[in-house]
């Protein structure tokens, strides 16, 4: 049991004693006896109070900067002169105090701005302050757990189930090079053997022949992708040391204030797993709850994965088992980890690798991947179907992104696609997460829905989705896209405000950009990530449990969105073939900016039964 201390708290300021009052409350809650003196007493009187109260600890506060050194010096001299120095422990804190000044003047401790009550209590009790005293305790959150996935709009739900049923029936007896690699990765690649460097002989023999030219050349001839290199042994050892030290020191913080949602994700993908790990650790410390892996754009158009611990000199961190494994090992236990699988030729295998290496979530959407990211609709529908099945097998939820909106596809068409894929996911037993964009999209630029404010059209999207299905919603990606500029204050502010709108609308998660979002001249810097985390945190602190009130337009637009989505689903149903609907433009036309991709065209095969 902790010894009860007599603590005298003395503000050496005309008025500022709030900090000491908060510390007094903490000390009293911990069972200590406290004496809080009024502000601005002469130091002689404070000395007398120490004697009279027989205080064992004295905490002085000083906020004003002028004359601080002289005043505190005089106080310490008087403590010495009165013979108290060996009998009391002296602490000093406040805005004007720096630890080095306190030490120089002979105080036992100095507490600068940002000191917590827990730190002050630990000082009084003579304890070392631990991470548990100062850090925030965080648990990994499952944002899907409270949802039933039941349709609110039963009529639309019925149609969506018909379309999803058609996809299921069409896809289940089809395969592709991507699915074959996924089967090999699933059946022949044992992660435990790989981690223990025991090799997976059968996989190693078969896999290269399932890959495209570049990965095949890597396995058979040792040729790396031209923009990548292997890390040296010295670099790996240095990374391990950096990581160990950082994990010991890291203090986590929380962006949320009074609400537990939305969960905050940010993205990494500098090209280099080392730099990613540096960014991730900073993001975690500044409050990110989850991180999303970005791979290079060429990765989506390459049949197969490379292997090895590789760094890449351009944006996007190459997916290899070793890269993912190192990044996963760097995460705090509470951090959600998403590896995107949504858009390319490695979709199902990405899900398996992510699942085997410990990812919590993935990202799958055949509509965006084939209309906005260059993969053939038929190929991605087969691969996406299998990817969803693997996500379910590995217990991963997945978001269904609607980034085709950024190409110009109107929200109602992108949402129809998202709802079709999500319904397929639910039908197969999965936990999809709806990912509408909070963006100044081309549709809104041309249609002027955001001319007056950024609130109503974004709110309309959430209202519409909530009126269709009881499912988790995770606006992204990132929120505020195309509203941010290169000015970091504006950029962080815009992200912060969109986050507050998301919170007000009761969504489950958000992806936030860095304040470098609009800067295209170089890589995103780590301070730009802490900028936006701070901005969102301050926004949540400001609004607390209150919210933003959209105008009546949001409801009107929300209702209109629902009826427009319904019409698109009717069109897809009438086509009778989801893949054909993608080619035909039912879910986004070429004029709107949706171009059915060509990567992987004519690679789908029927499975032999």
């Amino acid at each position: 049991m902790t010894e009860i201390k007599k603590v005298l708290l003395a503000p050496l300021d005309p008025v500022h004693d709030i900090g000491l009052k908060m510390i007094r409350r903490g000390l009293e809650e911990a069972g200590h006896k406290t004496y809080l003196l009024p502000p601005d007493l002469p130091v002689e009187e404070i000395i007398q109070e120490i004697i009279d109260k027989e205080a064992g600890t004295v905490l002085i506060s000083r906020t004003l900067g002028y004359g601080v050194a002289e005043l505190l010096s005089r106080f310490v001299d008087l403590v010495d002169a009165s013979g108290l120095r060996d009998k009391v422990t002296l602490g000093i804190g406040g805005m004007a105090v720096r630890p080095e000044l306190a030490a120089e003047l002979g105080f036992d401790a100095g507490f600068g701005p940002g000191t917590t009550v827990e730190q002050a209590v630990a000082f009084v009790e003579g304890r070392e302050i631990s991470k548990e005293d100062t850090g925030v305790k965080k648990d990994k959150q499952d944002i899907t757990s409270s949802y039933s996935y039941k349709f609110i709009n039963k009529s639309m739900g019925n149609k969506l189930e018909q379309v999803a049923g058609q996809i299921r029936k069409w896809a289940k007896d089809k395969t592709s090079p991507g699915v074959k690699r996924a089967v090999a990765r699933e059946e022949l690649w044992d992660v435990g053997r790989w981690r223990n460097r025991k090799g997976n002989d059968e996989f190693d023999k078969e896999y290269p022949h399932l890959c495209g030219e570049q990965p095949k050349n890597y396995y058979l001839k040792g040729e790396l992708h031209p923009k990548t290199r292997r890390f040296t042994r010295e670099e790996v050892i240095a990374l391990e040391e950096f990581l160990q030290e950082t994990k010991e020191r890291i203090m986590l913080s929380k962006v949320q204030h009074v609400k537990s949602r939305p969960v905050i994700f940010n993205q990494y993908g500098t090209g280099c797993p080392f730099m990613d790990i540096g960014h991730i650790k900073a993001s975690e410390a500044w409050g990110a709850d989850g991180v999303v892996h970005f791979d290079p754009s060429w990765g989506a158009r390459t049949e197969g994965f490379f292997d090895g611990f590789l760094t890449h000199q351009e944006d996007g961190t190459v997916i290899t088992p070793a890269n993912l494994n190192r990044i996963h090992g760097a995460l705090e236990p509470s951090t959600l980890w998403q590896v995107r699988a949504h858009r390319g030729l490695n979709t199902p295998e990405t899900v398996i690798l992510a699942g085997k290496l410990g990812a919590d979530m993935t990202k799958i959407n055949m509509c965006y991947g084939s209309l906005g990211a260059g993969t053939d609709p038929e190929r991605l529908t087969v691969d996406g179907y299998h990817a969803i099945r693997y996500a379910i097998q590995y217990g991963m939820s997945f978001d269904v992104v609607t980034n085709e909106e950024l190409a110009g596809v109107p929200a109602h068409k992108a949402f129809a696609g998202m709802l079709i894929v999500s319904t397929l996911g639910v039908m197969l037993g999965g936990k999809p997460i709806l990912q509408p964009l909070f963006a100044y999209s081309p549709e809104a630029m041309v249609g002027e829905q955001m001319e007056g404010n950024y609130v109503d059209f974004n709110a309309a999207k959430i209202y519409a989705l909530k009126n269709i299905i009881d499912a988790p919603i995770w606006p992204g990606a990132p929120i505020g896209f195309l509203t941010q500029t290169e000015d970091r204050v504006q950029s962080a502010m815009s992200t912060g405000l969109h986050a507050c709108l998301a919170s007000s609308l009761g969504v489950d998660a958000i992806s936030i950009a860095s304040s470098d979002e609009a800067y295209s001249g170089g890589p995103i810097s780590v301070p730009s990530k802490t900028d936006t985390l701070k901005a969102v945190q301050e926004g949540f602190r400001f609004f607390g449990s209150t919210g933003i009130s959209p105008s009546g337009k949001a409801e009107q637009w929300g209702e209109r969105l629902v009826s427009e989505i319904d019409k698109v689903i009717d069109d897809v149903l009438q086509t009778g073939d989801f893949v054909q609907a993608l080619y035909d433009g039912n879910l986004g036309t070429r004029e709107e900016g949706a171009y059915p991709g060509r990567a992987g065209r004519d690679t789908v095969e029927h499975t032999v039964t």
Binding site: L239, Y519, V526, P527
Partner: protein, 82 residues
Amino acid sequence: MTKALNHVMDALDVETFLICDTEDEARSLALELMKEMGFNDIDVVNLDFLGVGARVRARAYIHRSGDEYGWLKMDKEVKLDD
């Protein structure tokens, strides 16, 4: 590179307000300022010129992806106090 710069994770931004006559002059001055400070891999991230002068943020990349990072302690010691 100085030892303190080894500790910069990726980029170092310099933010200030430049007295100048035009936006072009502000951009030139910002880049010149970074060169005077000894940086080579530089850019102007943001610049607002509104007649009075320019609010500017210039950037020097100290470590780009794929570089050898000074903040990783490899064969050389990077502590400031050695």
